[in-house]
């Protein structure tokens, strides 16, 4: 049984430094944004009523600056060399702390920060998984590095795809296919788009909000595009097609509802476009950049038996199962269920913390 078409990537045979550095830049810009928000925030009536003091006390604290410095150094180290699992994990944990502090101070986490974080998580999981599978394979370090980054790349792409699969699953679980009715999308547009916007985007939003048929077509397209994100795992051409479809979806949402999700769009373009085909031309005036990014990296994959692969997979399944059981035992859902709890058709005043 061969999975060769599924397994290929535009980056095969080449260094994945461009992906790693690009992801680090996106995460670093998110770190700056999250830190600035937490720095400006203070505990108030919009703070989460169940949030622990240590998280709320980060608002306006000098500790935010220290966390930012640590995280930027860590993500810099992650970008500088391949295989930097610990540095990447440190940056991710720090980012999580900042985003959760912002969410605790401000009614809920800002989800536009999530896509780069989960791509980084997928990347790091790929490094760990490849090390686990190829344990004691005896291959040279350079081969091991390329092997690890192959898995890092697919881990990041799979996590990104999971993001959109979850979005469509939520709609189907809460409502079913009837989510794509002729009022839900109009409601989102009217609640977000600025009043009196006479620009082309404003006219477009006005048209969709006023047309039950057009809004229903877009709602159906939303379900198809978000569900189709799982095709990003099926080879480079499908990744390009599915990634561009999701990118176009985000652009359309920005035009209609002024919801940007810039970090998600940048992460999609980073991982879905066939950059190896463009880089030599784009960087032709910077030979040092070509030497760094567009370098070939042939690899002899470690010979890994099916048993090794199954053992590593079983360990991952066990870890995920343990995480799910632990998370269910902790009061995490009671806490996260209150995020954005006044979204939707609400009534009555907001309870004070």
């Amino acid at each position: 049984m061969s999975f060769a078409p599924l397994a290929s990537s535009y980056w095969d045979g080449r260094s994945r430094s461009f992906l790693r550095v690009g992801l680090a830049i996106i995460v670093a810009s998110n770190l700056l944004g999250a830190a600035a928000t937490v720095w400006q925030d203070q505990r108030g009536t919009w703070s989460h009523p169940m949030a622990p003091d240590w998280l709320l006390n980060l608002g306006g604290s000098p500790l935010v600056g220290l966390l930012l410095i640590v995280a930027l150094l860590a993500i810099g180290q992650f970008a500088r060399k391949p295989g930097q699992l610990a540095a990447g994990a440190l940056a991710l944990v720090t980012m999580a702390l900042l985003v959760e502090a912002d969410g605790a101070l401000n009614e809920g986490p800002k989800r536009h920060f999530f896509a780069p974080g989960l791509a980084l998580l997928g990347w790091l999981a790929g490094l760990a998984f490849a090390r686990l599978v190829a344990w004691r394979s005896g291959h040279a370090r350079a081969d091991q590095t390329a092997w690890q980054e192959i898995h890092a790349e697919i881990g990041a792409v799979a996590a990104l795809a999971g993001n959109y699969v979850d979005a469509v699953a939520s709609k189907l679980i809460h409502v079913g296919p009837g989510w794509a009715n002729d009022t839900t999308l109009r409601s989102v547009i009217l609640s977000h788009h600025p009043l009196g916007d006479g620009s082309l985007a404003g006219q477009y939003a006005h048209f969709i909000a006023g047309s039950a048929a057009a809004s229903q077509v877009l709602a159906v397209a939303t379900l198809i595009v978000q569900g189709g994100a799982c095709l990003m795992l099926v080879g480079p051409r499908w990744r390009l097609l599915a990634g561009l479809a999701v990118f176009a979806f985000h652009c359309n949402v920005e035009l209609l509802a002024d919801i940007g999700y810039g970090p998600a769009r940048m992460t999609l373009l980073l991982f879905c476009l066939p950059w190896p085909l463009y880089l030599p031309r784009l960087l032709r005036r910077w030979p040092r950049a070509v030497a760094y990014f567009a370098v070939s990296a042939p690899m002899t994959a470690p010979v890994v038996s099916r048993t090794q692969l199954l053992r590593a997979s079983a360990l991952v399944v066990a870890l995920v199962a343990a995480t799910v059981v632990t998370a269910r035992a902790l009061p995490i859902r009671a806490y996260t269920a209150l995020h954005h709890s006044y979204s939707g058709e609400r009534s009555g005043p907001r309870p004070q913390p």
């Binding site: 999530f114 679980i173 409502v175």
Partner: protein, 144 residues
Amino acid sequence: MDSPQHSLPSRVVFGVLVLVSYVAIAGTVQQLYPFSVFDMYAHPATSASRIAVRDAAGVVSEVSAWTDWQCDGPIALAVAPDHDERSPYSIPYRDREAQEWLSAHRGAGAQAVAIVRHIWWLQPQPGQAEIEDRVLLHCKARRP
């Protein structure tokens, strides 16, 4: 006997594992960075609403289109303070942005305006919506 790795590329297995793991963990924790079920627009809605300004001529515009606010108090953001009223769909952070704009742009505006919850009650018929303005606060402001 073990088959070599190229018969079942580990990246394919790993990709599927990550996708399934993400969905499983996000489904459990709901919203915990970087996991999220992204359910913010998953619920059905048959209405929409915005905090807006209605001037003396009845024209409705954004709160941020006005400045130099003089009001007797803050905007009451509860969507249906009178429980006999229907509750429209609203976006809390948009409401809060309006409230923060008003607080940050106080002054001595002279034009009488009303801050309203501008509501669209959407009908299933194409393009139809019943409009309702619930007055939340009377203020004076200036349109630059």
